[in-house]
């Protein structure tokens, strides 16, 4: 527990993946992230202040939201939100009146 050696945190030689493969990996990650979170991202863009920025975000995120909804992958986030998220973030405190 009190190990304080190797504070550099550098990557030892030979570990890791080649750049091209890492780019593929990050690309797949971003596509999946959009599919999983497209609906939620669109919903939070709707909460932005009315104006050009909001319009732009809604325009950009609309197709993402559509694909996310069609693929059904948005359920993963919604399930996490409706179960653990809801009970964790909306748990009222005992008397004292704070939500």
């Amino acid at each position: 527990m009190s190990d304080t050696r190797d504070k550099t945190g550098g990557t030892p030689a030979g570990t890791g993946v080649p750049v091209r493969q890492a780019c593929f990996c990050v690309g797949v990650f971003f596509v999946l992230m959009l599919l999983f979170n497209g609906v939620a991202m669109y919903k939070s863009a709707k909460l932005l202040e009315y104006g050009r920025v909001r319009d732009l975000w809604l325009k950009v995120l609309h197709p993402v939201e559509q694909v996310s909804r069609l693929s059904g992958l948005f359920y993963v986030r919604q399930a996490a939100q409706d179960t653990v998220g809801k009970s964790l973030n909306h748990a009222s405190v005992k008397k004292g009146g704070k939500e």
């Binding site: 527990m1 009190s2 190990d3 304080t4 190797d6 504070k7 550099t8 945190g9 550098g10 990557t11 030979g14 570990t15 890791g16 993946v17 080649p18 750049v19 091209r20 493969q21 890492a22 780019c23 593929f24 990996c25 990050v26 690309g27 797949v28 990650f29 971003f30 999946l32 992230m33 599919l35 999983f36 979170n37 939620a40 991202m41 939070s44 863009a45 993963v76 986030r77 919604q78 399930a79 996490a80 939100q81 653990v84 998220g85 964790l88 973030n89 748990a91 405190v93 005992k94 008397k95 004292g96 704070k98």
Partner: protein, 490 residues
Amino acid sequence: MLFPTTVFALFFSVVFFLHWGLVPFPRLRKWTLLGASLFFYGYWSWKFALMLAVSGVLNHGAAVWITRTERERTRKHLIAWAVAANLLVLAVFKYTGFLFARLAVPLAVPLCARLGTTEQLIGLQEQVLPFIEKIVLPVGISFYTFQALSYVVDVYRRHTPAAASTLDFVNYLAFFPQLVAGPIVRAAGLLPQMAVFPGWSARLDTGRAATLILGGLFKKMVIANWLAEHLADPVFAMPEEYGAVDTVLGVYAYAVQIYCDFSAYSDIAIGCALLLGFHFPINFHAPYFAVTLQEFWRRWHISLSTWLRDYLYIPLGGSREGTMRTRWNLLVTFVLGGLWHGAGWTFVLWGTYHGVYLSLERMARRLCGLPEKPPEHTPLGWAVLGRVWIFQVVCFAWILFRAQNMAAVGGILRGLGDWGRASVLFSGTAVLVLGIGFLMQFMDGNRPRRVWDAVNRWPLWVQAGVAAVLLTLILGVGPEGVAPFIYFQF
């Protein structure tokens, strides 16, 4: 631009692919990274992005001038001017209000009363205060100013050569992952990486980067946000409303919150930099597992504590000039360290408390015939006792750090003595979240190396899929919206 937001996710995806796509064009690649960093900073305020760029150009100019100058006296003048200019900018933006309203005016009040010039003092306050209120503290100014200072001082000391070009230096100073809340990366570590960007032959530790980024997001979005909203903020906002159990819970919650919040930023910064092929040193190393306060400072915000050691404590004389001088140096270093965090008496007290405790700790260890540094493997019983004790010592200091003013500190201290009142904040969830936050320290340093290596061996599409699912779960479990990182205000 905050890390856990859609804007940053889109920004980073664009920067990542541009950075690796432009490998055949090294100069364009450097300009692109600089543009990205300035966009990242300018997304909040383009004026301050411009100020950052100008600071970079001027500091590099001073460093080059120092390098080219043979005469020692001129070199000394140049470094003095460079250090003074950096500190002046920091002082204007960060300490004007404190120096005027909290220091100069209270000192002037009795003097003016004696001289019969109180009305003039009030008039001066009325003229100056509106101007002071207009000063906006640029995010991250303390961090990049310290980086710039370390660069010019290192060049002056001939510890590091001046950057090969202004572009390399401004890229180092403005590099977006660590720009607003550290780690404070030294020029010797990052400048050579900025001179020659990693090419396609590099290997990226995606396992480590993903673990750091996802772990950081979990710490910030789930743990730190929950602890702040449900425990720490209510207790520190209205301490008179809570009894001892809730106050203790609130203080412990803040201790875990600030660790989860700040180490999360460092982890995400290190992870993002890794994906771009750059390596940062670690900034946290399980600080609440420290057995002594000295060890705590070797594990907490390592880049700042080593900065203060190398550029303040050691130049003051360090521990080389006798016991009393060492104590004085420790005190000065920690008081200034406290002031670095914020312009307020609570921060000065926080620094003083750490400085005094460290002096007493050194004295006690010497009197007991113990070595200055605790041995690598302390017997289990002593280690547990030491850890529990130091955690209490640090938590007590967090009261000074977190409280808005001395009245709030008084409220918290009174609350700690009120054992008659029933708890309204204690719950199973509170204990669980606190416990998980505390245990996140096992992810610090190189402990999860086996996990990173295992992740690196997974097929790439599996790595991407698991990371996307975990991120989605974190976003789902976390609250709507996200509070800024605590260290943004410093």
